[in-house]
Amino acid sequence: MFYRESGDFKKTYQDDSQTFPIKFDRRRYYVVMAIAFLVLPMFMTDYFANAMMIPFLVWAIAALGLNILVGYCGQLSLGTGGFMAVGAYATYKLMTSFPGMDMFSVVLLSGFVTALVGMIFGLPSLRIKGFYLAVATLAAQFFLVWLLNKVPWFYNYSASGQITAPERSIFGIIITGPHASPITGYLFCLILAVGLAWVARNLTRGRLGRSWMAIRDMDIAAEIIGVNPLMAKLSAFAVSSFFVGVAGSLFFSVYLGAAEVTEAFSINVSFAVLFMVIIGGLGSIFGSFVGAAFMVLMPVLLKNILVGGFGWPTDLAAHLEFIIVGALIVIFLIVEPHGLAQMARVLKEKLRLWPFPH
């Protein structure tokens, strides 16, 4: 029928190893891209962009980063919030120190700064493994947040300890600051998210990605067959932190506009991103996006139904949200421990054989 490999002959190796081997998937991918880039911006309301799409894209980038570390390289990390904070503060310092710099450079440079910090905190991973490492990365979380809060240079000695994004633009289009339109913010995040997803996809199926996966599956065995654990683990930490740093940078400059480090980048952020990765599916690019969509959209939906629909008090709705999120996580883990991405994979297998499954 329509979801088939048959008849779609691959003539080159390049064709054979492409990301979407089935024609239907390829077309669907182009349709999704067209909708995201062309159709959505035309019909998007400010609320939709601000409350849903921008946070979705930002969290998706963060989830991608964490997925590289946890899903591909098998190094459990709870320091995501701290690394996002580094990205955000690097952005702030760059924006205020070099007013002429365009936003792309600012965001990418913040990513590189975070990658450096991430590599430093990745060093213990050579000795410490598993849950011990997870707790060790908590040191990064708490230490970085404390440092950014205590050293006034990081927030330009402002009295409130807050950082506020000044107005910056690319090619004359305002991206950040109070006068930026949510649609341009959305497009900016979208370009970065798509670009980074492309990078992640190609990294993870190349030599580097394979060395990560070898380390994940069994690090001693990987070492014996010639994977350098120092290089593999540190590069995973660096790439992951780069993504997380970019996410933190966008989170502060495009989404929040102003941030206070202990509020915006607390330990809850680390857990939220980990949830996205687990619910979406460990070791899956698509999963990072689905997980982020799930964790961003569900609270908005619940709030609209409970507060808007039933007229319940907001604090009660907030408690109920905790219950539902918690219950859903447990249910997901019981029904499908490999996440939504695995569900999509099963669905694809079924579709390929449909309507004659035997």
Partner: protein, 333 residues
């Protein structure tokens, strides 16, 4: 003795007491990790939930009052009676046992043989669930815990130690909270009784057998499910003790669930599988962070207690990856 020296001693003593409080939480972690290999993130929320339940029962709160009011438009909040502390504690223990049974039946039972990270995530989900559930059941306002534990500084100790300082020094005696002393005594009793229980009773032996090897324990006829319920009940009881102590110290409130995070470096230092390790790790962390804050804190801006424990544990782990008393990690290809 000079006043500076006495201050240092006071800081160390207070650190030891704080360490005991961390150990109380860490103990629950170790129990569950040993028996089921689950890294139970929900331990802190269990302490919060137990403390809330205790206060709720004691003051005769109507469960879910907030929800009932929102749905039916009524205005109920209290039954109007007071339950004595002792009965309230027994009822809370019953609630925690019920909780253990529910967790085993509806969560753990379905997750047997899953990878540790999946189980860990499930306990985080559980923690979220209980946080919301506890708030809906008993309300989210800060409550005061009053089960008759004395608190405040010990005047006797202050007067006794004031004479230690050299003549002419400005020194007013040591300040140590009575509550901390009680907590220390309770922790000692708890550890001794837990050790006795696991060494000399049949159930205790079964617990250790399961901790050693699930398969082997199953094959000699130990019911894994029953053991898990028992372990989670004990962990619930430990959580209640920790909840009472922390609740009496700083009020029953949301931040109570965050002490679980403070217990993590304690666990790392002591090793995930060792009960004495949890205690000694707690003491090291407690003393370490108080001394660091006292000696170095003022120079670098204070509030170092937020991260010092983690960095200390991190440094430590680099040299000894399995913690002080943890089982040696042997890796084979």
């Amino acid at each position: 003795m000079s006043a500076d020296f006495l201050y240092t001693v006071e800081v160390i003593l207070n650190g030891l007491m704080a360490g005991v409080m961390y150990s109380l939480v860490a103990l629950g972690f170790v129990l569950i990790f040993k028996a089921s290999g689950i890294f139970n993130y929900a331990q802190g929320v269990m302490a919060l939930f137990a403390a809330m339940t205790l206060v709720g029962i004691q003051t005769g709160q109507i469960p879910f009052a907030h929800l009932i009011n929102a749905v039916f438009g009524t205005d109920v909040h209290h039954f109007g009676w007071q339950v004595p502390a002792f009965f309230a504690i027994i009822l809370t223990v019953a609630v925690m046992v019920l909780f253990a049974i529910i967790v085993e039946k509806y969560i753990l039972h379905h997750l047997v043989n899953q990878e540790p990270i999946i189980l860990f995530m499930a306990t985080i989900g559980l923690a979220y669930f209980m946080e919301g559930f506890g708030d809906i059941m008993w309300g989210s306002e800060i409550k005061t815990m009053d089960v008759g534990i004395p608190s405040g500084g010990s005047l006797w100790l202050e007067e006794y130690t004031v004479g230690w300082a050299a003549e002419g020094e400005r020194y007013w005696g040591m300040y140590i909270d009575k509550l901390d002393m009680v907590a220390t005594a309770v922790a000692i009793i708890l550890v001794v009784s837990l050790t006795l229980f696991s060494q000399y009773t049949k159930t205790g032996r079964a617990l250790r057998a399961v901790a050693d090897d699930h398969q082997a324990a199953l094959s000699v006829g130990i019911s894994l499910r029953a053991i898990w319920v028992i372990v989670w009940s004990i962990a619930g009881f430990v959580a209640l003790v920790a909840g009472i102590m922390w609740g009496a110290k700083s009020g029953v409130q949301f931040s109570l669930s965050l002490i679980a995070l403070k217990a993590l470096p304690v666990l790392m230092l002591g090793g995930f599988t060792s009960i004495p390790g949890a205690i000694i790790g707690g003491l090291i962390i407690g003393v370490g962070e108080k001394l660091f804050e006292f000696a170095v804190g003022p120079m670098i801006g204070g509030a170092t207690e937020n991260w010092f424990a983690y960095v200390l544990a991190l440094m430590f782990l680099v040299f000894r990856p399995q913690g002080l008393f943890g089982e040696k990690i042997i890796e084979r290809v």
